[in-house]
């Protein structure tokens, strides 16, 4: 039993409630997160603020503790499910309330690989940061990525791989983009536990991202840089 079970969320002021939501997210308490989201909305919070200040900020704590070996995969998954439930309430509202649209990302786990927990987390955090995300799922071929990038007029390609045997496929996708003269049209981000910075460079990605928080930062930064370059040229 966690403390949260006995707490009347409505009795808390905004700041306390957000703190409590951080704890509830950490503990993966889906109903409590849903209730917290509803309460903040009732109190007049903009959906985008609920998303970023309560959910995304809380999930960052989870991500940091996962990185530091304090939390493990099941806890992260529980937290992600709670966050997803909260986002489910906010999503229909976000579109109507002028939340910023930062850019569009096509993401998928590469061909031969069906690990998707990390990829899903990145997709969720990117959405939370205002990106539109097109998730191609698992076992994704080069042509599927490229077709989606073009059809969706996306800005960013995200590829995930968890197996040593499937990591090299990222290079095939990037090389195919290059062969078709499309490489410079997209920002390419790669991730997955066995990858590293050096590998990202070697396959020709724009960046390797260690986790979802870094993915969001990097995506924002590279999008801004790209817009500035476009404006300058």
């Amino acid at each position: 039993m966690t403390e949260g079970d006995d707490i009347d969320l409505r009795a808390l002021d905004d700041e306390e409630l957000v703190q409590q939501m951080f704890d509830d997210l950490y503990d993966g308490l889906k109903p409590e997160i849903e209730e917290g989201v509803e309460i903040l909305l009732e109190r007049g919070w903009a959906p985008y603020d609920v998303l970023t200040k309560a959910l995304v900020a809380g999930m960052r704590i989870v991500g940091d503790d996962f990185r530091d070996g304090i939390l493990f995969v099941p806890e992260v998954l529980q937290a992600a499910k709670a966050m997803k439930a909260g986002m489910g309430i906010l999503k229909p509202l976000l579109a109507d309330t002028g939340a910023p649209k930062v850019g569009k990302m096509v993401i998928g786990t590469v061909k031969g690989d069906i690990h998707d927990i990390g990829k899903n987390l990145v997709a969720m955090m990117m959405e939370g940061a205002g990106f539109e995300v097109v998730d191609l799922g698992i076992n994704t071929e080069a042509d599927e990525y490229i077709k989606a990038l073009q059809d969706e007029e996306a800005d960013i390609l995200g590829m995930s791989a968890l197996l040593t045997t499937t990591m090299p496929y990222m290079k095939i996708v990037i090389d195919t983009l290059a062969e078709r003269g499309l490489r410079d049209d997209y920002i390419v981000l790669v991730g997955g536990a066995p990858l590293n910075e050096e590998f990202g460079k070697a396959v020709g990605a724009d960046a390797y991202c260690r986790d979802a928080a870094v993915a969001v930062e990097t995506a924002k930064e590279l999008i801004t840089r790209k817009h500035n370059q476009r404006a300058a040229s």
Partner: protein, 224 residues
């Protein structure tokens, strides 16, 4: 016959090498994953490789591969301090993304080839050739059949959060048990594991696969 403590192999590893320094002269040491302990000792015994010793790191590192290179480094350094000159690693890449290879290069030791133990039991090329057809397969070995509850079920937190089963295994369609030995008890344990995961079941006998050749090489190689 030795008795094995599978729980210890998972949690803390095990040292099967002789305690006395004078007994180590001229012997080679294999530092391996706890998930391979029983199998390595079986091959050493049946192939008559009696000049090779074994120390094992905890099999649970499997779920946290970023910790394997450091653990292997400490074990190699300790073994050198203990007087072993010929040391090899019974590890595949195991998701270290090349970091184990770098360690091997730095410390001048060899490791088993390939990405993971499923591939070297099955045979690298056979495993690779089946990859497309078995995209939805979750593999068990003798060790994982024995330690399914500890390494897979509890390792993934399914004891605490049974509702995560779909998140983990939603894209899988079958369990393929790569059997090192013909043991009806393990066959039924593996089958039961498949049932718990809600997946179809298939058994493929692999024997020890490339483990045997690796250990024969280890026993023959003269130190650098």
């Amino acid at each position: 016959m030795r008795s094995f403590d599978d729980a210890a192999l998972t949690e803390v590893g095990a040292d099967f090498s002789p305690g006395a320094v004078n007994e180590r002269a001229g012997r080679a040491l294999v530092i391996g994953c706890g998930a391979l302990a029983r199998e390595i000792l079986a091959v050493l015994r049946s192939a008559g490789l009696d000049k090779v010793d074994l120390r094992c790191l905890p099999a649970k590192l499997h779920n946290a591969p970023q910790q394997i290179p450091d653990a292997a480094r400490r074990a190699i350094e300790a073994a050198r301090a203990d007087g072993y000159e010929r040391i090899s690693l019974a590890y595949a890449d195991c998701g270290t993304g090349g970091l184990l290879d770098r360690l091997c290069e730095e410390l001048d030791v060899v490791r088993m080839s390939g990405p993971h133990c499923y591939a070297f039991y099955d045979g690298q090329s056979a495993f690779a050739a089946r990859a497309d057809a078995e995209i939805g397969a979750f593999y068990l070995t003798d060790f994982l059949a024995r330690q399914f509850d500890a390494v897979v079920w509890r390792g993934l937190g399914l004891d605490r959060f049974p509702d995560l089963l779909e998140d983990y295994f939603g894209h899988y369609d079958r369990v393929v048990y790569l059997a090192q030995t013909d043991d009806p008890a393990l066959d039924s344990a593996a089958q039961e594991a498949a049932a718990r995961l809600g997946l179809a079941y298939e058994r493929r006998f692999t024997g020890y696969g490339e483990l045997t050749g690796f250990l024969v090489n280890v026993s023959q190689e003269r130190g650098a």
